[in-house]
């Protein structure tokens, strides 16, 4: 099939950027979307032009590197599918596609379709872990975990950190990403000692990164390639409220005598 692409080209962080039109003939339905771009890039380079920059690595939908917006939809039209796993059989002859990077203040464009998602790493640094040094663990089976809890924790932990939730949100909020990590750990006994401290720190870090606020559109869940559930946001909000109202912060100024 033959496709027309309008791809966002932006030289660096400072460049204004613009859409550039490309015709791609001879697209096979068995190609992945990124393989279709590979073919286009080979063609461009053969003509001495610079290849379109896009992030990718495993091409198996698990590393979270890839992702851009196709006709307004993060990762394109197929449910629960990263763009590396999206195949061209989803499209048809003559389709016209607009490809652009994640749009969010917290994710500055680095080049073309590549953005800077280091804000996600900083949210994890704020508390997305269990404080256990290597060597200080007890026997794994001495801590039984209800299978249901383990399964729900897994569902939340399946987040690949791609950023589609932010790109999909009209407010560019990072609530789904942050709540997935909060939920993963708050559902497990290992996460309990730091549960309320963690949620406060991670939410504060998220707020300081220029992400927007959640206004319950639910677009994040719809476009999440891993099916991370909105209920994680409710769980995070509940923990956050409880932590803010009833818990004393572990760090910061000392509590008053009252």
């Amino acid at each position: 099939m033959k496709l027309t692409l309008h791809i966002w080209r932006q030289k660096d962080r400072k460049d204004a950027g613009k859409f550039v039109r490309y015709e791609v003939p001879n697209v096979s339905e068995h190609m992945s979307f990124l393989e279709m771009l590979d073919v286009l890039n080979e063609d461009l380079q053969g003509k001495g032009e610079e290849a379109i920059a896009f992030e990718h690595d495993c091409r198996e939908g698990i590393c979270g590197s890839c992702g851009f917006v196709i006709n307004g939809e993060p990762h394109g039209p197929q449910d629960r599918t990263t763009v590396c796993q999206l195949h061209m059989r989803t499209f048809k002859e003559g389709d016209e596609l607009y490809l652009e990077p994640w749009r969010a203040t917290a994710f500055p464009v680095v080049k073309d379709l590549v953005v800077d998602r280091s804000a996600f790493d900083r949210i994890i640094q704020a508390g997305g872990f269990v404080s256990v040094n290597t060597g200080s663990a007890r026997d794994a089976n001495s801590l039984p975990v209800r299978k249901e809890d383990a399964d729900r924790a897994f569902d939340a932990a399946a987040c690949i950190g791609c950023g589609a939730c932010v790109a999909a949100c009209p407010n560019a909020a990072a609530m789904l990403f942050t709540s997935a990590k909060v939920s993963h750990l708050s559902l497990l006994p290992q996460g309990q000692p730091e549960r309320y401290d963690r949620v406060v720190k991670m939410v504060h870090q998220m707020d300081s990164e220029d992400f927007g606020h959640c206004s319950n559109h639910g677009e994040c869940e719809v476009h999440c390639p891993k099916g991370i559930n909105l209920s994680n946001i409710s769980r995070m909000n509940a923990d956050y409220i409880k932590a803010s109202l009833f818990m004393s912060p572990r760090e910061g100024k000392e509590e008053s005598g009252a």
Partner: protein, 641 residues
């Protein structure tokens, strides 16, 4: 050069304990005076950087991806082995040790393997304490499954995403140390040179992939945890960015590269669909627990829909040839059997280049026996992934599979302390050659990466540092300037060639050649042919390459050019090693050394590690041998019949 493994003598059961006691310690107050560079943030790199940070060392960690969480360990599906014997089915440290030495076809160092089996149990404890959501039984305890090549259930798993969950565990420990200020993380930084000063590894030169800036970093020791070289084949299950550059540059600076011909071909990958294919996708070999592998008995049936091929017309060839292991036969054996079936013209699926290269992996029996729900719970995400890629529903139509390059057992030579022959240069995980011998068992890669990072390097690195004075992190030695200049001229050269062919076209050409001649089956003639052709491809690469753009911003073609340039040199060593090893063992199958299709080892002449010394591009490398002795597991012909 004598290669001293430094493995402790005496009883193997207490060797690691005694060694830990014999090693020197760095006083807690002195640890912060030492700095360590860790390159790579996969299971080995992230666990090492986090643990060294916890101990108090100053760590700088580098990865080429945009975040340490993207490292390719994340894609490991099946599981991680540990000798916990939670299933009470006869497992033990000794059995895991035995299985690993045997599975590696008696080409690994016994004492390393024993230590790995001992440490395996600590890894599970650590991961669970971090909150890794392993699969559990209804009683709340951990679930296990059996995995390719093992007759006990010792594999821990997190659905089909075990690598992801373990990496996110290590990543969270790493991020915690970054927040604590003990690890400084440099994402989007690619190591392009190792710097050796007065015979010791003292630092690296990296390129900031966003700005193009070259920077030098100095430290008291350098740890490489940069993964394997499977992408030398172009089409492999590795992530697109996986490369051999870090270990190859270290090799060119004097580090010996061991057993590069030991490459693992994974039996269950989705077959190639066309010539635009950019990578191959692995389907976890756990699928072989419930799926049955077959091909049509008659080549005339190969074009038919599988439902039209009756039971008596199907050849369940693994069950037929290897009755006791059947569909769970080790990877190398299952891969070669699939190749043989397809070479006989009995392959299925679309023909690429005129040959159907695929066999069926059929779940219909398992679905009938266990029900759709159970199969879905075990393999749901894998089935979905298969359908997304092929457009076929594996609940209704058998999957099609073909082997693909997946893991590389060879790597930089290291001693028992994981130190290379260059003092101060340590190598962890897939990047080193140790532990797996000539063939790695399923679910053992995650185990080795985390063993090296969490539980070996923290001790052995301390032992090294205790013997050197902290040298600071100022990269002012002239060796750094020289290394930066070398890197810069190479980058400039790529941009200046202005030829006609893209980096990928050279990479594909190289990959096709080595897959054909140095892949699943190797012959002296084929290897000699490859050794003639590789220098010619390399020469054309340096004459006719085109790389657009500049070296001063994000330029993915330029990054790839550097990696492919190194693959073009590395491939020659891999083929040389394969030609020199006149035997078949594990993943190295020489067609001229077989007994009726079974690999024929030659212990009298080849029971050694082949460690190669760099002598110049296009110049024959120098071979050094580390003899292997087997005091516990006596070499026998591997038999899975």
């Amino acid at each position: 050069m004598t290669l001293d493994s430094k493995a402790p003598s005496g009883p193997i059961e207490t060797a690691w304990d005694r060694h830990r006691f014999d090693m020197k310690l760095v006083n807690p107050a002195n640890k912060r005076k030492y700095s360590v560079i860790v390159v790579g943030s996969g299971l080995a790199g992230a666990s090492a950087a986090a643990t060294l940070g916890e101990l108090g060392y100053n760590v700088a960690c580098f990865c080429f991806q945009d975040s340490p969480r993207r490292a390719h360990s994340i894609a490991a599906q099946g599981g991680i082995n540990a000798a916990k014997n939670y299933q009470n089915d006869g497992d033990s440290v000794y059995r895991l040790f035995y299985d690993t030495v045997k599975g590696g076809d008696f080409r690994a160092r016994e004492r390393n393997v024993y230590r790995l089996a001992q440490i395996s149990v600590n890894i599970i404890d650590q991961a669970v304490a971090q909150g890794v959501p392993f699969a559990r039984e209804y009683g709340g305890l951990l679930a296990n499954r059996s995995f390719g090549g093992a007759q006990v259930s010792r594999t821990f798993y997190a659905r089909g995403q075990t690598g992801q969950q373990l990496l996110l565990g290590a990543y969270s420990a790493l991020e915690r140390q970054i927040a604590a200020g003990k690890v400084k993380m440099y994402a989007r930084h690619e190591m392009l040179e190792l710097v050796v000063v007065d015979g010791r590894a003292r630092g690296i030169v990296v390129r900031n992939l966003e700005t193009g800036k070259l920077e030098s970093f100095a430290a008291d020791a350098v740890c490489l945890a940069t993964g394997g070289y499977g992408n030398v084949f172009f089409l492999s299950t590795n992530a697109k960015g996986c490369n051999t550059t870090a270990i190859w540059r270290a090799h060119k600076k004097g580090a010996l590269l061991a057993n590069p011909c030991y490459t693992q071909i994974h039996p269950t990958c989705i077959p190639q669909a066309g010539d635009y294919q950019s990578k191959l996708t692995l389907m976890s070999e756990s699928l072989r627990n419930d799926g049955r592998v077959w091909a049509p008995k008659d080549a005339a049936d190969c074009g038919k829909h599988p439902s039209e091929i009756s039971e008596d017309k199907r050849d369940y060839y693994l069950e037929r040839m290897y009755p006791s292991f059947g569909n769970l036969s080790p990877r190398d054996i299952a891969s070669r059997a699939a190749k043989r079936v397809c070479d006989e013209g009995r392959g299925v699926g679309p023909a690429v280049g005129g040959v159907r290269r695929g066999v069926y992996l059929d779940f219909s029996d398992a679905i009938q026996r266990l029900g759709h729900a159970t199969i879905s719970e075990r393999y749901g995400n894998l089935f979905e992934m298969y359908e997304r890629i092929t457009g076929e529903n594996p609940y209704q139509v058998p999957m099609r599979m073909y082997p693909a390059p997946h893991y590389t057992m060879g790597g930089l030579w290291v001693d028992y302390n994981l130190m290379s022959n260059v003092p101060g240069l340590f190598v962890l995980g897939e990047a080193n050659f140790s532990d797996h011998g000539a063939n790695r068992l399923g679910a053992s890669a995650l185990m080795q990466g985390l063993s090296d990072g969490y539980f070996v390097i923290p001790y052995t690195l301390g032992n090294y540092l205790a013997g050197v004075k902290p040298a600071g992190t100022t990269a002012d030695h002239p060796a750094f300037r020289a290394a930066e200049q070398d890197v810069k001229s190479k980058l400039d050269k790529f941009l200046a060639i202005k030829g006609k062919r893209t980096v990928d076209s050279f990479h594909r050409q190289l990959g096709d050649l080595v897959w054909d001649r140095c892949g699943m089956g190797r012959t002296p003639e084929g290897l000699q042919e490859a050794l003639q052709k590789i220098p010619a491809i390399r020469e054309e690469f340096w004459q006719n390459l085109t790389v657009a753009g500049s070296a001063n911003d994000l330029n993915q073609s330029l990054e790839k050019a550097g990696r492919v340039a190194d693959f073009l040199e590395f491939a020659e060593l891999m083929c040389t090693d394969a030609l020199t090893r006149n035997e078949s063992c594990g993943g190295h199958f020489r067609e001229d050394h077989q007994d009726d299709g079974e690999a024929k080892r030659n212990d009298a002449d080849y029971s050694h590690v082949a460690a190669w010394e760099f002598a110049g591009v296009g110049t024959a490398p120098v071979l050094h041998k580390e003899p292997l002795t087997f005091d516990y597991v006596k070499p026998v012909q591997r038999s899975y019949k």
